[in-house]
Symmetry: C2
Subunit: 218 residues, 2 copies
């Protein structure tokens, strides 16, 4: 049995196929990535892909499930060595995602991987729970709502990776790019775009609009 190999180095053909699939799905997207391409990348025949996973769709779902498991593991790990992550949470999270970053981005952007996103929302909620303690005023929205939008915002980075790289002038995959991103995020997260007063007034205006909707015909 190849089980021994699997436990030692995770080099079983099935695992290799999964890894190749995640790589190619992430690189080309689900449609453009072909079973034959994945098979070739994994060093196996295309038939074996079907043998192990049944169909392309099922292969995708297996990748999703694997990533959910990995994300959970990373999340637990991140709790322990909070030393390094404290300095650069987003950066270290991305670093941990590593080769799965592109897959994650594609999966979310294409609308799959609902459980993955929900898991990250849950992680954000835990983070927020702590942050809320140091907050005097009542939030405008529920913790879950804020965690959802917050998580989504964090996921922007891997999803729009190349656009952001272009905007920053450095590839985010390089140390320089990662550093610049981290500093920029630090600035954004520590400087509110709106003052409490303007926010309150906007909120009031919003409530007024809610009762008397604008005259748009839609």
């Amino acid at each position: 049995m190849a089980r021994i190999e699997a436990d030692l180095e995770d080099l079983t053909a099935r695992a290799r196929i999964r890894d190749a699939a995640m790589r190619l799905f992430g690189e080309y997207g689900f449609e453009r990535a072909t079973i034959r391409g994945i098979a070739e990348a994994a060093g196996v025949s295309s038939g074996l892909v079907r043998h192990h996973f049944g169909s392309k769709q099922a292969l995708r779902e297996a990748c999703d499930a694997y990533l959910v498991k990995e994300i959970r593991r990373m999340n637990d790990e991140a709790r322990t060595d909070s030393m390094r992550t404290a300095a650069n949470p987003v950066g270290s999270a991305l670093a941990k995602l590593g080769p799965y970053q592109r897959y994650l981005a594609r999966a979310l952007a294409e609308g799959w991987a609902a459980p993955l996103f929900d898991e990250m929302v849950r992680m954000s909620e835990e983070w927020l729970e702590e942050a809320d303690k140091a907050r005097p005023d009542p939030p405008f929205a529920s913790r879950k709502a804020r965690a959802t939008v917050g998580a989504a915002m964090g996921l922007t980075v891997p999803i729009l990776h190349q656009h952001i790289s272009r905007g920053l002038g450095v590839d985010l995959a390089t140390p320089q790019g990662a550093h610049l991103l981290a500093v920029t995020l630090l600035d954004i997260y520590s400087h509110p775009m709106l003052t409490p007063e303007t926010a309150a007034s906007m909120r009031d205006a919003l409530e007024k609009l809610r009762n008397s909707p604008p005259s748009s015909p839609s």
Copy 2:
């Protein structure tokens, strides 16, 4: 000539094809959307699509170019009636995007539409230029860097539309969903996740890591 029709109602076959393409590209993605499907949605033959646009790729580029033009127009419009947009910038921006929201999201997530993103960065820069006036401390990063990341974050909403809807428990397309999102964004944008002190210390830690990179083997 059908030019008269075009100027009056934008109902020329070419425009109908473009609109149908943007809708289907947005709904299904570039690969899964077929020329035949687009042709059917536009009420024309599949050959006409090719006749007008040459190829599927060129059709996509035409859609991109059209959207850039539209975004520019919307941006100019937004400057005039700043009354309503002031209360809910993101919401009104999304409302303006309307049917093109999904296309924009797909285009960016799939890596096309670089000029589109860059245009939105430029818009963010203008926004930031004004905001920076009321800011005493020097920013951590250049305005363009902050505008890039900020724009990307804003674009999260249309890109992860369905995930956010699921997390909020309301479809963002409904007035209730839009309202909840607006309120949540207001809260996030008015409450920094980090205090200036922690941000400063994290920044220092980041600089230290920069000089002595972590022991990860990658």
